[in-house]
């Protein structure tokens, strides 16, 4: 598919607010994600990252505002989980009763065949299943799990499980993929390997863009690890309840909103970044996003990248 103005969307959040009774969580949050972006979402604990993610996923739609994704070629409200949004959790992403291969092929099966077809047209389903498994196998090869295709999740290490989970979501090429602290439970070395894997998918995006095609992978990665956010993302978005809401005429905190939105340096997968160079960015983010004592106007550090 060629890239055009009509399909250059991953996600649009328009004036999203959410609260639980008296507790205000999200306030007037606006966020446009374009096709092919790798957006790192960061913020202090309790800032509503999970609430936002659940709202985007559609399991808990926001109380106010709209979340739009491309569904069947049209912008539509994402008020329930759907095929246009993928998700990778820290755990429970894989089905324990399926092998790695079948876990990855599962989405193709759900998306491209119906129960009636599978139950009634055995020959057709056999053919389709072989095709899906071939595609899944090729994808697993790409993420370096060619040898582990026939293992069950319980037989795999945490790192392998997350690789499969990412493959399971990415093979569907949804409009946007949400990664909710995907590497939170992994050790440092495994984390870096998986970051490199994500950057390989970013390379595929670059190739597609250079050919004028729609980039296949758009993702939001939520992480509490700033180095990871900077290395994997091409855009850093900070969500925080620490902003100068008094200046906007509120007498108590209306909730967290986007207070930081800047492009991030882009790395090649084989490039080992010098984390020292991240120091300035980290310092910047700690001040603006994480420090409760430093309050600034909400749009002060929102420099929209030129593509936006």
């Amino acid at each position: 598919m060629t890239l055009s103005d009509e399909n250059n969307f991953g996600l649009q959040c328009q004036g999203v607010s959410h609260w639980f009774g008296e507790t205000k969580v999200l306030f007037d949050l606006n966020l446009n994600v374009h096709a092919g972006q790798f957006l790192s979402l960061i913020g202090p604990s309790g800032c509503g990252k999970s609430t936002l993610l659940r709202a985007i996923l559609g399991t808990h739609p926001p109380h106010r505002g709209k979340i739009l994704t491309l569904q069947n070629g049209r912008l539509a409200n994402a008020d329930r989980p759907g095929r246009d949004r993928g998700i990778v959790y820290q755990k429970y992403s894989l089905y324990p009763f399926l092998t790695a291969l079948d876990n990855v092929a599962l989405g193709l099966k759900f998306d491209q065949t119906t129960t009636a077809f599978r139950w009634l047209n055995w020959v057709g389903w056999g053919k389709k299943r072989r095709e899906f498994r071939d595609r899944a196998a090729a994808f697993l090869d790409k993420v370096g799990l060619g040898q582990a295709m026939h293992l069950y999740p319980s037989q795999m290490s945490g790192g392998m499980q997350q690789r499969v989970a990412i493959a399971q979501a990415l093979i569907m090429e949804p409009e946007i993929i949400l990664l909710d602290e995907p590497f939170g439970a992994l050790d440092e070395a495994t984390r870096e390997e998986l970051q490199e894997m994500l950057l390989q998918f970013y390379e595929e995006n670059k190739v597609a863009m250079a050919e004028g095609k729609k980039p296949p992978y758009t993702l939001i990665i939520v992480t509490h690890e700033l180095n990871e956010a900077i290395r994997v993302g091409d855009r850093l978005v900070g969500l925080s309840q620490y902003w100068d809401w008094k200046a906007d005429g509120h007498d108590r905190s209306p909730g967290a909103t986007v207070v930081y939105d800047k492009p991030a340096p882009v790395f090649r997968p084989d490039e080992r970044p010098d984390y020292e160079l991240f120091a300035d960015i980290r310092q910047d983010i700690r001040q603006v996003v994480y420090n409760p004592k430093v309050l600034q106007r909400r749009d002060e550090h929102v420099n929209l990248s030129p593509t936006s």
Partner: protein, 267 residues
């Protein structure tokens, strides 16, 4: 050492030793009894037991072999009852697990039914269903439905909601989530529940046969017990035990075949 492993040869040896001790013990008790009363039939000698086996394997005056007619009658009642109970229990459990309103609606009767002792309620079944096949089927199925339904629906409640949401993001329909995600996860636990339900089902069936049966294992055991023909009663009990054991083994085999991932998981 606590939980220390032993060799396979040793475990086979110990198992055969326990069986041999049981048989020897029986022989000794029976021998002592026959010294006191040579005509005793309460603890039959091996020879008397052989006579008993002949009695129920050879045609009687009506040209019927007891073992054949009893097996057919009891087996039919058992499998119809278990079959209906398993189907209804599973469907009810799935519905209760998937739909909260059905859960609220069905929970009181199921909780109540689970607490009624089936053997105490026999009279109700006789009055409502008579004494034919339908009575046995109703009693067995109603007896096992509560436990099966509750197992299924608790297993569904246990599923992390992430797994269901994930399926929707992969393009699954509601029906596909139920059949391809929920069902697959619940199946091994359901098979375990069926294994546990076999014991009570046999108890209900034998008890009812003892009261109103005119053929079947319960009927035969009651009749031969009244005549103190323990040489028929004991072999019948052993056969019942083997029947339960074989079913249990079959279900475990089925579980290992259908849900190999579950076996791996529980190790």
């Amino acid at each position: 050492m606590i939980r220390g492993p032993i060799s396979q040869a040793k475990s086979i040896l110990l198992a055969s030793l326990s069986v041999a001790l049981l048989l020897l013990g029986y022989t000794w008790v029976s021998h002592r009894q026959h010294q006191v009363n040579p005509k005793d039939t309460t603890i039959p000698s091996w020879g008397q037991l052989a006579d008993g086996v002949k009695k129920f394997t050879r045609p009687d005056r009506k040209e019927e072999r007891w073992i054949v007619e009893d097996s057919i009658a009891t087996g039919r009642r058992f499998f119809y009852g278990i079959g209906l109970g398993v189907m209804c229990g599973f469907v009810l459990g799935m519905l209760m697990g998937c739909f909260s309103s059905l859960e609220a609606f069905l929970q009181p009767p199921i909780a109540l039914l689970a607490k009624v002792p089936q053997t105490a309620a026999l009279a109700v079944y006789f009055v409502v269903f008579g004494t034919g096949l339908s009575m046995y089927v109703a009693m067995i199925s109603l007896g096992i439905i509560p436990a099966l339904a509750v197992t299924v629906y608790l297993a569904i409640k246990d599923l992390p909601s992430e797994m269901l949401d994930k399926a929707y993001t992969l393009g699954a329909s509601h029906f596909e989530v139920a059949t391809e995600v929920v069902f697959r996860q619940v199946l091994p636990k359901f098979i375990d529940a069926v294994r546990l339900a076999i014991g009570p089902a046999i108890v209900f069936l034998i008890a009812a046969e003892m009261v109103v049966g005119d053929v079947g294992f319960g009927y035969r055991i009651r009749l031969q017990f009244k005549l103190t023909n323990m040489n028929v009663v004991y072999p019948y009990l052993v056969m019942l035990a083997f029947f339960g054991f074989a079913l249990d083994y079959g279900l475990r085999f089925l579980q290992a075949k259908l849900c190999s991932w579950y076996q791996r998981d529980s190790k």
